[in-house]
């Protein structure tokens, strides 16, 4: 099972920008591992949340035909910590897009306060420069990821 690191999309403008949220809860085991008695979200997982938000945005831009992988973290600047009870808001936008990949940038906020600024590069790995071959099926965008994208349309009432 993939470790999905965002809970819900709240805005999705295809090919342009996306906003996703992640609610941090003390029930998450990893929060107790980094600093015992001082639970915080590791910065690496905040980068992962942005990579998933921006990665789905980049994947959708080619209707998930490309296998999109995070290839480079150009910059990740952190201004504060994320703790249980916080809601992280990931705002990502595509800066540039080509057949080979894309660059994206974004911010992470908690209650409007800036937590991090992140710049990422994504590669369309079937078009990589080394000419390496990868499995034919799209192992990046599983149904689970597409289900997360569906959350931006999930505000409709659920009939039981």
């Amino acid at each position: 099972m993939r470790w999905i690191w965002i809970d819900k999309f709240t805005q999705f403008a295809p090919g342009k920008s996306a906003t996703a949220i992640k609610c941090v809860t003390l029930a998450e085991e990893h929060l107790h591992d980094l600093y015992p008695d001082f639970p915080i979200v590791p910065h690496s997982l905040i980068v992962e949340g942005m990579a998933q938000t921006a990665g789905i945005l980049v994947g959708e831009a080619s209707q998930f035909r490309e296998k999109v992988i995070l290839a480079k973290v150009g910059r990740a600047t952190f201004h504060r910590l994320a703790r249980p009870g916080d809601t992280l808001v990931f705002e990502a936008r595509i800066e540039q897009f080509s057949e080979q990949g894309a660059s994206a940038s974004g911010t992470v906020r908690i209650g409007g306060e800036l937590l991090a600024e992140i710049e990422l590069m994504f590669s369309h790995i079937d078009r990589n420069m080394a000419g390496m071959a990868f499995p034919e099926h799209n192992f990046v965008f599983t149904d689970q990821f597409k289900q997360v994208l569906g959350t931006c349309r999930s505000d409709a009432p659920i009939s039981l």
Binding site: K72, G74, Q96, S98, S123, M129, A130
Partner: protein
């Protein structure tokens, strides 16, 4: 007014500092992108994106760094660039200095330098 080579160089230097996380002093005209500045394959796409933004140009795939040639066995065999490969490269890369490759067409000697990038941008802005 057209940009001078010095102005182009300074902008390219800034792009490489941002893309590769190196110090400005490391970005010298003869510094090689891979060997001296530590560029990896994804960095070449990053550099191309940043150059497009900085200079307001479009860089088609393979124009600045024609990576497709290196995967083509007509052009590269046993780690050496064939005469046909060399001819093709010269046609497609007027911005590259082929002096060393003319003496020894070892693929490992095909090193892109900061000057290669500056030459490319200079030609691109003229065209």
């Amino acid at each position: 007014m057209a940009m001078s080579r010095d102005e182009i160089y300074q902008k390219v230097q800034g792009v490489l500092v941002d893309a590769l996380g190196v110090d400005e002093e490391e970005v010298t005209p003869r510094a090689t992108l891979r060997g001296d500045l530590g560029a990896e394959s994804i960095d070449f796409l990053d550099i191309a994106f940043r150059l497009e933004k900085a200079f307001g140009i479009k860089i088609p795939r393979g124009e600045m760094f024609p990576e497709d040639i290196f995967n083509n066995t007509t052009y590269v065999q046993g780690g050496r660039i064939t005469p046909a490969g060399l001819e093709e490269l010269k046609k497609r890369m007027p911005h590259f200095d082929f002096t060393e490759l003319d003496k020894d067409p070892d693929i490992n000697k095909m090193q892109f330098t900061v000057d290669t990038v500056v030459n490319y941008i200079e030609n691109k802005l003229k065209s």
